[in-house]
Structure formats: C-alpha cells, structure tokens
Amino acid sequence: MGGYVLRRILQSLLILLGISFLTFILLYLIPADPARQIAGRSATAQTVENIREQLGLNLPFYQQYFRYLTGLLQGDLGRSYLQKTEVGELIWSRLPATLLLMAGAIVSELAIGLTMGLVAALRRNTATDTSLMVLSFVGVSSPQFVIGILLLYVFSVQLGWFPIGGYGTFRHMVLPSLTLGLLGAGWYSRMMRSAMIDVLRQDFIRTARAKGLKRWQVLFGHAMPNALLPVIAMIGIDIGLFMSGIVVVESVFGWPGIGQLAWQAIQRVDIPIIMGVTLVSAFAIVLGNFLADLIAPLIDPRIKLR
C-alpha cells in the first residue's frame, strides 16, 4: 500500500511536470507578444524592450521555462500581465466559489442521476424507463451553455424564482449546480440503471428476499450498496469533467470561480493566468483520480492496490 501511494505520487508529479511543459510550449508559440501587449499602443520601442527585459521574455525558451519552474517550486505562479496581481492570489481568491459550485454539482448529479437510474431499473422496459433514458441521453449530449441559458431564461427571467446569475446565497447556487451536474446525472442514471439491474439478478438478493425482508430493506440494504460501487469510483473522475465545465457554466452565470478567470484570461491572452489555472486544474484532476483509486478498496475489498 505504502509503495503504491509513493509510486502514484511520483507518477502524478511527472504528469504535472509534463503538463506544465506542454502548456508552456503552447503559450510560448502563440504569436502574441506579451511585452507589446503590456506596453500598449502608445509605448515607444524602448518601453517595449524594457518590459521584455524585466519579464525575461528576451531569454531563450528553456531559460524562460526554467525560470517559471523555479518560481513554481517556491509557490510563485507569477504575476498577471493585465490584472497586475499575483496569479496565486487571483486563483486562491476564486477557488472557494469553484469548490462550492462543484460540491453543488456533485450533490445534484447524484440526487438526480441515482434517482433516475433507480426508478428506471425498477420500472425496467416500461415507458417510464424509456423516457428516463431518453432524458439522460439529452442530459449527456446537450452543450452546457445551452442548458445554462435555457435554465436562466425559464427559471430566472420568466418565472423569477432564482436570481439572474451572481454569487452569494443558496438561491444563486441552484441553477449553476444543476447545469454543471446534468451531464454527470445522465451518466450516473445509466450506470445506476445497469448496475441495479445486474445486482437485482444476483443470488444474494434472492436469498434476502427468501428470508422475508421487506422490499425496501432488500433494495436499500442489499442492492444499493453494491450498485453504488462503480458510481463512487467515478466521482473522482468527475472533477476532470467539471474542470472543463466550469469555464462555460461560470461564464454563463457570472460565477466568480477559476473557470471565469480562465475564460477572461484566454480572451485577453493573459499567459500567466492561463498557465496557472491549467496547472491547478491538472492538479485537481490528478488528485481526483488518485483519491478515487485510494477509496475504491475501502468500499470494495475485492479491489487490491498493487
């Protein structure tokens, strides 16, 4: 176990290093000249040159990358070109909002997905089953910006139940969480349905029924815990999905998280922020997968970490 954890940590570090290298190359190749961008249109050639020198943009690629890595190891993600603020501070101040949104999304995708899957499995091959599965298919395939704008239009603009975007109260959280969670809910309902159908066919369920347990006892005491196994393993992987989703969802709802930060930075080619958010997202994804793998054997003793 200890060896496994150590090996995975080393692997994760290598992955992060690789990602930082790839992102840095990509951003280095962008033809935009950051020094000129900072200097603005009224700057003299000398000002541009001064800025280039101060930021080390005149150095060869490998030296720039090395400088960045050195800073990174000291916890310094650099300073935003346009916002003139430490990237670490910008991300840190926006992280709580993103984590809150993800928590909301996990709750809503589990609540919706598991219920739908359970009902579909119990009503297998009926009209309910079919319509639920069609619904989940729609959830999986709809682009999030469409869902987001639709929800916003119906529930905030027309019905006035929720605020039109923003951040702060529980009511602000409902629609963005739903939007971000719907994709996952689609997946979960399908997984839950097939896992449940599978479990209900097993011998131990028949035994449980035979010994006279009530229907709900069988369902929630025996069938559910077994059907949930593959689902829980997926939550860790969800974090990766969310990381791409938050860029869209946060922008639509004006949610002050790191996705919105990334979107603004991409539009304005603010390289240090793009770099920082990419690294933080990569870290979250790697961590999510790692945790999912660690938790799996605790839930299912048949899984062994080697």
């Binding site: 033809p31 935009a32 000249d33 000129r36 961008q37 900072i38 200097a39 603005g40 249109r41 009224s42 700057a43 003299t44 050639a45 000398q46 000002t47 541009v48 001064n50 800025i51 101060q54 300073r79 346009l82 916002q83 003139k84 603020t85 501070e89 910008l90 101040s93 926006r94 909002a97 916003l152 905030s156 603009v157 006035g160 605020p163 039109i164 975007g165 923003g166 951040y167 922008s251 639509v252 004006g254 949610w255 002050p256 998280g257 919105q260 930060l261 603004q264 304005r268 080619v269």
Partner: protein, 540 residues
C-alpha cells in the same frame, strides 16, 4: 434682439446643463450598481489603460487638469491656475491648497513631481510613458540614466514648474490624462506592485472594498475639495456579468448601468421598445474605423488606386450591418473632435468612377490583394462587405481574419499587410486633440517597424505642418491651430492614405433611479460614464 438672443442662450444652457434641477440643488446621497463582464485589471493610474478602468481611475484620482463633465473642454482640476511662458515651453501650475489624499495627508507640489517621475520611469512599465516625451529630461529617465525629470521643478509647496524640450500645444491635455494623476509616494511605496489594488488618490471617491472577481465598492470622499461632488454616496461595481445578463438585471431593477453597453444581440429589441426610450443614451465617440492601404506595397503606391478603394466602399451599408451603431466617415477625425471639417465631402460612393480611376492607373482588369481583419464579430462581417464592394470594381481581396495581436504585428511590418480593416484595434483618441489622430497613425513617427501607421504613409511636408501646429501653445491661437490641423487631415485625404469607413457611436442605458445630464453617461473623456456627476432620484 440682444434680449431674445440671451434668452435663447439661457434656454439652451438650461437644456444642456443639469436638468431638472440646477447643479447646486442636487442633494448628495444614494448609490448605484454598475455591472461589467471582465474583472477590473488595475486602478493604478500609471498603468491602467482600458476603457473599463479609465473612468474609475478618474473618480479615484485627480490630475492637474480635467474636462468639464460630458464635454471635451479642458478645465482646471488640482491646478488652481497656470501660466504658459511666451515661447510655450514653460508651464507654471499653482496648486489648490488644502486638497487631501484619501489617507489624510495634504497634496503638495512634491507629489506632482513624484507622480510624473514615476510614470516616466521605465521600472513603472507605464503604457503612457510616451505621452511625457516633451518634458525636458524625459529621454534620460526613459533610458534609465536618471530617476527624476530635469524639467519638473518644485518652486514652493503649491507651485510646480514644468519645462518642455519643445513647445507642445497638447501639454495641458497630457496633464489631464490618467497617467498624470497625482499619487502619494508613501502609499505607492507601501503597496509596491499592488498599488493598483490599493489605490490612494485625491479623487471624488475612495476604494472601500475590492473582492476579486466579484465586486468593487467606491465610497464618497467626504473631504473632496469640489463642493457638491460627487453626488452619490456609494457605487458598487459588480464584475463577471455577461452583457445580456446585465441588461436583464437592469430591466428588473437590480442594476443601474450596464458598463459594457447594450449587447449587440439585444440592441434592436431594446432600442425599439418605447418603454426604454428615455433610458437609452447615444453619444459620439472619438473613434474612427478605417481601411489602411500600405503605400509601400504596389499597387497601393498609386494614389488613384487608393482613391478608387475610397469610392468603392459603400459605407451606409456597413453602418446598417452593425445596426446603425455608427455614422459614416469621410475623414480621419471624428465629428466631436476639434479640427473636424464638417464641410468636407470626401469621396462619395461611386463604383463607376472608382473603376475609371483603376483604369487610369493601368489596372482596368483589377488585381488581387489581401485584407487583414481582427477575427471577432462584427469585424469579419464588415470585411466581407468591403470585400464584396471591392470585387464590384475588380479588386479581389482575400480576407485574413486573425487574432488581434497578429493583425497588429502584420500592420507593423513594411511589407506584410496590403490592407487592414482597423475595427476592434485602432483608433480611439487618448485625449480630445487632433494631434492624437496624426502622429502615431498617419505621421512618419508611426511608420516604423512595430508602429501603428499601417498605411506606412509618411509625408514630411505634413509632418512639418503638424509640428508647427503643435507649437501654437498660446490659447489665443486655438482657432488658428484647429484650422491648421483641419488642413492637414484634408491633405491626408487628398492622398487617400486611408479609406475612413465610420465613427462608432456609443449606446448605453441607465435605470430610472438615476439622474444627470445625458452627456455624462456617454462622456467622451470619462469613458464610459462620468461617475462623479450621476445622482440618485430617490434622495432628492
């Protein structure tokens, strides 16, 4: 006769000035919410250079000069008075006494010197440093050989003298741009690179709260030296809100001003709704959208070809493409800029005459070229309209839609971009003076590698006239100077260095709660809104 004239003038004044109440009758108090899509970048006046933080900085800081609200007329700000020497090279400013920074300390001449030294210093990385090039000793500071501008002298605590290396008629405008705002040394040194997040000025408002990615709160400066200003007690800027969402919130009464303006997708719907008729405000902008033709790249070295392009473009149609959010242009200067020639007719739309001109240049069969354009809407659509117009006279233009930085880089090379549509990149004036529309974009100084004169038009004769015009520093020569500039820009059009297409108009909206003259909501200088003069109806 005199009486009716006076009465007419008074009525005009009343209509254009603060209505319904007189300025001094307006009660201070109340608050408003302004929304923006993007996070505010920085509030450091030496650094901030976008249209979102421009007016915020003006509300937090003061400079020696400013403009009358809603106009392009210079007025004294922290300078109580000034004198200009006869040769136009020495400006002596008498400062207002008893003006306090937000930290409570009194502002003195030392602060003026410190602020100017700071903005010129290359370590500050100010995008506006170039504006101060006429101050004596600027080159030494810019090169890093000196820390202090030789030309700026503190005479006494309330007098500062600025000596220029050449006469510069725009210098008072330079003293009014944000980069010349007066900052207190101790606060700049305390916060270092984070001064932009902790601004301390002498302005009408002070920064009360800044929650990154969410909101900024400005609070009224109780000690502000200008009586009765600002009108509001508090302004909340909420950031991270898409323009469409911002508009919906305004319609529901949750916000007061959509800082990014009315989004194009909603423009027709909102402007046609009688309910919002009185709440929508249109204003001119010191902006011109134009097509550059690189005079170094044949066949655009021939004036006939450039004139033909001018005549081929159907500007009215292009204005329709952007829902009428602009007025057609026939010269480089926008209509609200001093020096604009309202009698000039320009090159009228006439494809047949354009074809004839091409034939005259020996290009009767047309030619192939490239049109560079910034790849965000509506610019590619405008480029397509221009492409179709050019095709009608036999010019086959291939559209190169690229990221902004790439277009700017291509324009800054002598042999890369034969034609560029300037939309989304250039040119909005930094200050309301015609010279700002010449040097960088039409003068020889801008026709260099990495410059903004994408036509690479360099007419030394006009450059000499421009220098002469900017040497007329005596305020009595104002009209003469304007006339000189008018001639320069018409001469540019005679050479057809550009094809001017339109001047963008700004459209914004305010909630019914807000009062104030329309002009301050589309202020030409305090862009986008002059926050200091907006008042709340609910406290009157």
């Amino acid at each position: 006769m005199n009486k009716t004239l006076l009465a007419g003038a008074a009525a005009l004044l009343a209509a254009t000035a603060l209505s319904p109440a007189q300025a001094e009758d307006i009660k201070q108090g109340g608050s408003m919410i302004v929304t923006y899509k993007d996070d505010v970048s920085t509030l450091d006046p030496a650094i901030g250079y976008d249209w979102q933080n421009w007016s915020m900085i003006k509300s937090l800081f003061d400079g020696l000069m400013d403009y009358e609200p809603g106009t392009t007329n210079l007025m004294n700000d922290l300078a109580e008075d000034y004198t200009i020497s006869d040769d136009g090279k020495v400006f002596t400013f008498k400062l207002r006494q008893g003006v306090k920074f937000h930290n409570g300390r009194e502002m003195t001449a030392e602060d003026v010197k410190y602020s100017l030294d700071r903005v010129a210093n290359p370590k500050t990385q100010s995008p506006g440093a170039g504006f101060f090039g006429s101050i004596k000793g600027f080159d030494a500071v810019a090169a890093g050989d000196a820390d202090s501008l030789e030309g700026v002298t503190v005479v006494d605590p309330y007098t500062v003298q600025i000596e220029l290396s050449r006469p510069d008629a725009t210098f008072l405008h330079v003293m009014a741009i944000n980069f010349s705002s007066i900052v207190p040394k101790e606060a700049v040194e305390e916060w270092g690179a984070d001064f932009g997040k902790h601004p301390v000025g002498t302005g009408a408002f002070s920064l009360e709260e800044w929650t990154l990615g969410q909101r900024l709160v400005f609070k009224r400066n109780e000690d502000y030296w200008r009586a009765g200003v600002p009108r509001l007690d508090e302004i909340t800027f909420e950031v991270g809100q898409e323009p469409i969402v911002a508009l919906l919130r305004l319609q529901r009464g949750e916000a007061d001003i959509p800082g990014d303006g009315i989004p194009p997708a909603k423009f027709l719907e909102v402007t046609k709704d009688p309910q919002y008729k009185d709440l929508i405000i249109e204003g001119g902008q010191l902006h011109t959208g134009y097509v550059t033709m690189n005079v170094k790249m044949p066949p655009f070295d021939k004036p006939e070809v450039r004139k033909a392009v001018n005549m081929a473009i159907n500007k009215d149609r292009i204005v329709r493409i952007i829902n009428g959010r602009a007025v057609p242009a026939n010269q480089p200067l926008p209509p609200t800029m001093p020096g604009y020639d309202k009698d000039y007719e320009g090159y009228a739309y006439d494809p047949d005459a354009a074809k004839a001109l091409l034939a005259e240049a020996g290009l009767g069969d047309g030619f192939e070229t490239e049109l560079y354009v910034y790849n965000t809407d509506p610019n590619p659509r405008i480029a397509q309209a221009i492409q179709a117009d050019l095709a009608a006279i036999g010019i086959k233009a291939e559209i190169k839609a690229l990221a902004q930085a790439n277009v700017i880089a291509a324009g800054g090379e002598p042999d890369q971009a034969p034609m560029i549509w300037s939309g989304g990149m250039a040119w909005i004036a930094d200050f309301p003076d015609p010279s700002n529309f010449y040097g960088p974009i039409l003068g020889c100084a801008g026709a260099v590698k990495g410059g903004w004169n994408w036509s690479w038009y360099c007419n030394e004769e006009l450059d000499a006239l421009a220098t002469a015009a900017d040497s007329m520093t005596d305020p009595a020569q104002k009209a003469e100077r304007e006339e000189a500039w008018r001639k320069i820009f018409i001469a540019v059009m005679d050479d057809a260095a550009w094809a001017p297409v339109f001047h963008e108009q700004r459209f914004t909206m305010r909630s019914e709660r807000l009062g104030g003259p329309d002009a301050i909501f589309v202020d030409p200088v305090h862009i986008p809104v002059n926050y200091d003069y907006v008042w709340a109806k609910d406290v009157q």
